[in-house]
């Protein structure tokens, strides 16, 4: 294990955390989008809002962390990825603006029309961002990002592997968030919504399964060598991921809340790591390795050092925040927040 390998590991840890939290937020945005008309979708939306508003910013910082660490550690590969995948990554960023604008502004928007609008933005962002981030992962994994030069700006991401991975990301996000929401309903004692999200978790789970099969077929046909790596050295993780997600599927189908979140998270993490391990030691398969793409060794040690600082500062603070929240010390300040505007107002109440 070189320092560069460890930094690559840190990036995958960041991706795992982002997949658990960020992509799941986007999944919730998807449910928000299709929750139905104003009155009809009110309760589902209120729950989604209430669950996500306090945490979306923290969930989102992982993405920034991934970007910063990648360009510092592997500046060359970062530049190549951003050039070859300019279109999908720019679209992912646009989706992030949509979602962030929604969270920043919806809570305090004075008119309900404006809140309706911003819910739409959230929903569109919720499809765009995971889709295009997934597409980009698909492009990297199928070796379509050349270490030098531009590559083909369209073929790089408009191909079966990229598109199916994009769809898989959307579907997985929708599934995981529906599962998380089932748990939230149990915790908050709202049985009708629990049923509502239970059904959605089942539909999304089936969709995710179909997408996963599609990814496998596309890889098998188009990217034989990557397919072989995924089905040989990564196979334990693939199996673990499929089993865990399958268990999560069954559990949400039965409405079992206990342990559901953990099982779903294990499934997602296993898939992320299966990809990372299949790709190792390549940054850009099969042309640029971690060792060749790494920046100066001082910078690697520096990044690792600050990762440790992050662990010892951020994690305790996260625990404090979580504990204060669980003990009910936190809540929306009624005198500064909107109080007469319908269900959405309750959104940010609990942190």
């Amino acid at each position: 294990m070189t320092a560069a390998d460890l930094v690559a590991g840190v990036i995958v840890i960041g991706m795992t955390l982002y997949a658990w939290s960020g992509i799941a937020d986007f999944g919730a945005g998807f449910w928000d989008l299709i929750a139905g008309g104003k009155a009809h979708g009110l309760r589902a939306r209120a729950l989604i809002d209430e669950v996500i508003t306090p945490v979306w910013e923290a969930n989102h910082v992982w993405l920034i962390y991934i970007l910063v660490v990648t360009w510092t550690a592997f500046g060359g590969a970062f530049g190549s990825i951003m050039t070859a995948l300019f279109v999908p990554l720019a679209l992912a960023a646009v989706g992030i603006v949509f979602r962030g604008a929604n969270f920043a502004l919806r809570k305090d928007a004075a008119r309900s029309g404006a809140r309706q609008w911003s819910g739409w933005l959230f929903g569109i962002g919720a499809i765009m961002t995971p889709f295009f981030l997934g597409t980009s992962v698909g492009a990297i994994l199928s070796g379509r990002v050349p270490p030098n030069g531009v590559g083909n700006p369209v073929n790089a991401w408009v191909n079966a592997v990229s598109i199916t991975v994009g769809l898989l990301t959307v579907a997985l996000g929708a599934f995981v968030s529906a599962a998380y929401l089932v748990v939230e309903c149990a915790r908050r004692g709202v049985p009708e919504l629990r049923e509502y999200f239970r059904i959605r978790a089942l539909i999304a789970g089936i969709a995710a399964l179909l997408c996963g099969v599609a990814v496998a077929i596309a890889l098998r046909v188009q990217e034989r060598s990557m397919f072989n790596r995924l089905t040989s050295r990564s196979i334990p993780l693939i199996v673990l991921g499929v089993l865990a997600l399958g268990a999560a599927f069954v559990m949400s189908g039965r409405g079992v809340a206990r342990g559901l979140r953990v099982v779903a998270a294990v499934g997602v993490a296993a898939l992320v790591w299966a990809w990372a391990i299949a790709q190792y030691p390549y940054l850009l398969p099969f042309r640029l390795t971690i060792a060749d793409g790494a920046g100066s060794s001082t910078s690697m040690k520096w990044l690792l050092g600050w990762f440790i600082v992050a662990l010892v500062t951020v994690i305790p603070m996260l625990i404090v925040l979580y504990t204060l929240d669980q003990r009910g010390h936190l809540g929306e300040d009624p005198m500064t927040s909107v109080r007469d505007v319908g269900a959405d107002a309750s959104a940010g109440r609990r942190t």
Binding site: A46, G75, S296, R350
Partner: protein, 490 residues
């Protein structure tokens, strides 16, 4: 002007839209930054005052300022993320070659913002139920964490102006990276102090101006008085310091970036006894200045303390190394200095008036000017950044790497530029609309009275949530909201 743009157009086609997009998104992000950096300090001062003296008006201010800070922090997170993407999307050549150098400070930034986000969340949502001083102490680190965040980002920019902490190998790749020298480069102390002061000035004058407007409309209560006095006093103390620091930076630029200094001050030919031009347009074709006010010898004097100081002129700089837009750099610099000077005068007036009456100064003219001070400081910030960034051209890393060599080769930059302009226009309008809606809502009830006093009893949170969601049966939702947001009595 025409020739500069021709010169620009002769670079890669992506260069102009990429620079325009980068500049625009940075200029937008920087609007939110002063509030993120300085508003927490204001709210903590008001919080402290409120707790110490049992001052309900001060506590109301603190609660509202923290709420506004939450909003601007969130919008800052969105626009900051776009910036992070842009480093790769627009300037892959920059990250490819220098990523492992200028990325070093950014590794700290991530942690600082994470901590800030967590502490801000605790503070904003802790008003109702935490113990008063516990709540205060959770807020206490926020300004310091914000300063660390600003340090790491400003460090990147000052490194671009004063590259250090590495050596270039034969392939032009940096080696022998030294993180300490990268972060604490020579330009950092100046840029950081000047920027932090600027951020505090912009935030304090902006907050004060909100209450000055109320004051002008006749709302002359203690709440408005504090809303003016706390922030305005801080801004007034900082204004003269800022001019001194700015003067030092200008001299630093004169010594270290002569090409930038020549552009800032439109120095045409090298020599002593350089005149100072207040405004005036530069014509690159003839290397002359037209219009503006000319003060003989002043520029040399400002640069080196004597009219005999020799200053490099644009004629001595190879055309390909001159700032791409001299007139813009010069105008931006002059606008900043003009505003800095005016704000000092305003601060002096305030100091004298306050010293005599211990109250918000009476003069209507003062009040009108004070109402504009927030916007005007923001203009100075934008102008200062235009001076720094446009004046740095054509270099992305001063004297080492050219912007034209860093720009992306992807084809769609013009499209993203347009999309971003449209999105940000929407985001800007929406943010202002929401802030205004907040202000209107609060105006109905300037001081938060006893029955909603902060730090009230703590209801059982889980029970509260359950009953809230239960109460939330579609039709009843509109009326249920007030109760659900934590208060049971109307």
């Amino acid at each position: 002007m025409t020739t500069t743009w021709v010169a620009l157009a002769s670079g890669p086609v992506q260069l102009t839209p990429a620079r325009s997009q980068m500049g625009f998104t940075l200029a937008f992000h920087i609007l939110l930054v002063p509030l993120g950096v300085a508003l927490p300090t204001l709210m903590l001062i008001a919080n402290y005052k409120g707790l110490r003296h049992g001052d309900a008006a001060a506590l109301s201010l603190a609660r509202r300022w923290s709420h506004a800070a939450g909003l601007t922090f969130a919008v800052g997170a969105v626009t900051g993320t776009v910036l992070s993407f842009e480093f790769g999307l627009l300037w892959p050549g920059f990250t490819k070659t220098f990523g492992d150098v200028f990325g070093l400070p950014f590794a700290i930034e991530g942690i600082a913002f994470f901590l800030e986000a967590l502490l801000v969340a605790i503070y904003i949502y802790g008003w109702r139920r935490m113990k008063p001083w516990t709540h205060f102490w959770f807020g206490f680190p926020i300004p310091f964490v914000a300063i660390i965040g600003a340090l790491s980002i400003i460090s990147v920019n000052s490194w671009m102006n004063a590259p250090a902490g590495f050596t270039l190998d034969l392939n032009g790749k940096p080696t022998k990276v030294n993180p300490f020298n990268v972060i604490f480069n020579k330009a950092l102390p100046w840029e950081l102090s000047h920027f932090l002061i600027a951020a505090y000035m912009a935030a304090t004058f902006t907050v004060a101006s909100v209450y000055v407007v109320g004051w002008l409309r006749g709302r002359r209560d203690r709440y408005h008085k504090l809303g003016i006095l706390i922030p305005f006093t801080i801004g007034a103390i900082l204004a003269p310091i800022q001019v001194t620091v700015g003067d030092q930076i200008a001299r630093w630029v004169y010594q270290n970036q002569p090409a930038k200094f020549a552009a800032m001050e439109v120095v045409t030919k090298s020599g002593t006894h350089q005149p100072e031009y207040l405004f005036g347009r530069y014509d690159p074709a003839t290397n002359t200045v037209s219009g503006g006010i000319k003060i003989p010898g002043l520029d040399s004097w400002l640069a080196g303390g004597s009219t005999n100081t020799n200053v490099t002129g644009l004629a001595s700089i190879p055309p390909q190394n001159r700032a791409s837009n001299v007139t813009l750099t010069h105008f931006a610099f002059d606008i900043m200095v003009l505003i800095g000077t005016l704000l000092v005068l305003l601060a002096l007036y305030y100091a004298v008036a306050y010293w005599r009456r211990r109250d918000v100064p009476h003069g209507r003219i003062f009040l009108w000017v004070a109402a504009a001070a927030g916007v005007v400081s923001y203009i100075a910030i934008e102008a200062g950044w235009i001076t720094t960034e446009v004046g740095r051209q054509p270099w992305i890393v001063w004297n080492i790497a050219r912007t034209s060599g860093a720009v992306t080769t992807a084809h769609s930059v013009t499209v993203t530029m347009i999309v971003i302009y449209v999105l940000y226009a929407f985001l800007g309008v929406a943010t202002i609309a929401v802030l205004r809606a907040m202000a209107t809502r609060w105006r109905l009830k300037p001081v938060i009275d006893d029955d909603t006093a902060p730090y009230g009893p703590r209801p059982d949170a889980v029970g509260a949530v359950e009953s809230e969601v239960d109460a939330d049966d579609g039709s009843g939702a509109e009326t249920g909201a007030g109760a659900r947001s934590g208060r049971r009595t109307p």
